[in-house]
């Protein structure tokens, strides 16, 4: 690196920085849009031109978590003043919260769908990364007959758009009773992610010198112990990167979740847009649901960001 930059280098630098900024802004725009809409009053959500400055409120989130129905008659002043502050927000929007006979607030379908998403995405990620790591280790360290063919075969499972097998999958799932079950989706997503996980992990494990394990072997450890004590810690970066990608895929999957589940095991992606159809769409509630839906991936990625960055440059830099 030259300490002194020439004028043309400096100009080039500035162009590059500007380009990065512009691209970042383009990528962030939809996220800003969703986030701002999630905090808007309903009447400002669809204005043209878009409202940028507004008093943020949390009524979309109140609506997101509760079951509501249209008000036929306006609440009486007594009803209104007896209601807690968050219920008044719903009244203001011309709706009321549905309560059970004993007066308990009925939740909307969102929390359970969100929970389903978490269960399915986390379990399938753990399974895909775990099995992928074992498989990759096997391919990386042992002479496997037809290794190249097998690896190609594993990768080939991703060579057609998954949706084309949706109908056969649906029929098979119905036949074995996996429809609308958590395990149904978990198996499906694990199968999706496995080929990706095997390939990615093989790259990472190939980078770990096999002398580490050989040293452990002569130091009195079995291969399995060497795998857990040496290979896994060394592959942590790769495991983190693979886990993030698998989690994002499973978390965001829409098509199969829509076809295979409808109630018990439905995940958030098919649920959120389904709210559009009932009555006039309330975009603020949809935005609130989407906003919360973004958070787990954002947090997960943020926590693993150091591993992820190292993961990206892994193999490019000789240590």
């Amino acid at each position: 690196m030259a300490a002194v930059q020439t004028r043309s280098e400096r100009a080039l630098n500035r162009v590059a920085i500007t380009a990065v900024l512009v691209i970042t802004l383009i990528f962030l725009a939809p996220i800003y849009w969703i986030t701002s809409t999630a905090f808007k009053p309903r009447n400002l959500a669809t204005t043209i031109p878009p409202t940028v400055l507004f008093q943020p409120e949390i009524s979309p989130f109140v609506k997101l978590f509760t079951k509501r129905s249209q008000l036929r008659t306006a609440p009486t002043p007594e009803e209104y003043s007896a209601a807690p502050w968050w219920e008044r927000m719903v009244f203001d929007g011309g709706e009321k919260i549905v309560r059970s006979g004993r007066g308990e607030v009925q939740p909307s379908g969102y929390p359970s769908r969100f929970m389903n998403s978490l269960i399915v995405a986390i379990t399938s990620t753990v399974l895909a990364v775990g099995m992928g790591t074992f498989t990759a280790y096997g391919f990386s360290r042992f002479k496997v007959k037809g290794e190249a063919d097998l690896l190609f075969f594993i990768l080939s499972t991703r060579m057609l758009p998954p949706v084309v097998v949706a109908i056969p999958m649906f029929l098979m799932y119905r036949a074995v009773g996996l429809n609308d079950t958590h395990w149904g989706l978990i198996i499906l997503y694990t199968a999706f992610n496995l080929s990706f996980s095997v390939w990615l992990m093989k790259g990472f494990i190939d980078e770990i010198p096999k002398e580490y394990e050989e040293a452990a072997l002569v130091d009195g450890y079995t291969r399995m112990q060497a795998f857990f004590k040496i290979v896994i810690p060394e592959a942590a970066t790769g495991i983190a990167a693979t886990a993030v990608f698998c989690f994002i895929t499973a978390w965001n999957e829409y098509a199969f979740a829509l076809i295979m589940t409808n109630r018990r095991a439905q995940t958030a992606p098919p649920f959120i847009p389904s709210q559009v159809g009932s009555g006039l769409p309330d975009w603020t509630v949809i935005a609130a649901g989407t906003f919360l839906f973004l958070l787990p991936v954002a947090i997960f990625t943020f926590l693993l960001r150091n591993h992820l960055l190292r993961g990206m440059s892994f193999g490019a830099i000789r240590k």
Binding site: E214, V218, G220, A236
Partner: protein, 369 residues
């Protein structure tokens, strides 16, 4: 007490035979160096002893017990790798303690052993550091510490200092020698560097293309090489090898080199010795190390006039290329003894330092004058 014996080892990689009928007995406490070029099978041999490589034929015996079906982890052998192979996610302390943790040793005993070996290797101050924060020499000290800490039956070292720079290599060589003298354990050491082999070994095992060439003390392989390969592989600068013809004139043997009419003078017994060894004329190679070529500035009895061609001053001594007929013979002289190229000097070959080989087979005729 650990003896290691290799009996009739054969090893193939696919169709390639990398070890051919290797037989070797290593005594307790002996420091054996496997010496050879890369690809000669020395590392494969070492890994087979460690249990990291299988063998196709033969027996590996440790203390008389065949071990080829015993897993590496159960052979109680330690190994030091060229790449050091320190576990990067563990501290120096944890690295050294790692082999002990595989046993049922108590925490206190582990701690005591680690600190003891760290003291011997002078790395006590680094126990809390990660390997990435160490210099190459210290990394190798830690690797040796990790190997020695559980007092293994035998120590295997695969080019342990090959990755270090020249100065550090010399330092670590002395360190390894010191440790072996102090700790004492049966050691097999692999290297391609003949200086390392000469300075460390009790016995050197020279291998070439999977075949054992010679086993002997450093002195033996240096002064009595079994064949042309060993003769040229051991020693620096390389031994001179020239085709030679021997004739007898006036009660003296004359060894002609490079088509030169004058021959180097040798005792007359050479002729009989050669015929005893069934040497055929035209298939004789004379080998002599540069220090065996004696040079004089003036004509002397038994010396032959030659011309200096190239002079390499090396500080402590010079290497002078002498033209003999159409051949070059390198001689070692005091610095500045021959002043410039083209100078005429008189040379003779010290019969006691001359070796005779069968040109066709390469093997030594075993003639020591």
């Amino acid at each position: 007490m650990t003896q290691i014996e290799l009996r009739g080892i054969h090893k193939y990689f696919g169709a390639v035979k990398v070890i051919k009928d290797l037989n070797l007995a290593i005594a307790d406490n002996e420091f054996i160096v496997l010496l050879g070029q890369s690809g000669c099978g020395k590392t494969t041999t070492l890994r087979a002893v460690a249990g990291l490589e299988t063998i196709d034929e033969g027996d590996i015996l440790i203390d008389g017990q065949p071990v080829q079906h015993i897993k590496a982890s159960d052979r109680d052998i330690a190994m030091v790798f060229q790449s050091f192979s320190l576990y990067p996610h563990m501290t120096v302390y944890e690295n050294i303690a790692f082999p002990l943790r595989a046993t049922r040793m108590s925490r206190n005993d582990v701690d005591r052993s680690v600190r003891e070996i760290a003291g011997v290797l002078r790395i006590t101050g680094m126990l809390g550091r990660k390997p990435s924060a160490l210099s190459g020499g210290d990394m190798q000290r830690v690797a040796i510490g990790r190997a020695l800490v559980r007092r293994p039956k035998a120590m295997l070292m695969d080019e342990p200092i090959g990755a270090l720079d020249a100065k550090l290599r010399e330092e670590m060589r002395a360190e390894i020698k010191r440790l072996h003298t102090k700790q004492g354990s049966t050691t097999i050491y692999v290297t391609h560097d003949q200086v390392e082999a000469m300075s460390l070994a009790d016995r050197i095992v020279i291998m070439h293309e999977g075949i054992l060439q010679q086993v002997g003390t450093p002195e033996e392989v240096y002064s009595r090489p079994a064949n042309i390969f060993v003769a040229q592989f051991v020693g620096s600068p390389v031994m001179n090898m020239v085709d030679a013809d021997v004739s007898e004139t006036g009660g003296r043997a004359s060894v002609q080199v490079g088509g030169e009419a004058n021959g180097f003078e040798f005792p007359a017994t050479l002729v009989n010795r050669l015929s005893d060894a069934n040497a055929e004329s035209g298939k004789l190679t004379l080998g002599v190390r540069p220090e065996g070529v004696l040079i004089s500035r003036e004509a002397r009895e038994g010396f032959m006039p030659v011309k200096a061609h190239i002079i390499e001053p090396l500080g402590s001594h010079d290497i002078v290329d002498l033209r003999v007929g159409d051949q070059m013979i390198r001689a070692r002289t005091k610095s500045g003894f021959v002043t410039g190229p083209g100078e005429s000097v008189w040379a003779r070959i010290d019969p006691a330092q001359a070796h005779f080989f069968n040109t066709a087979t390469g093997s030594s005729l075993g003639i020591i004058l």
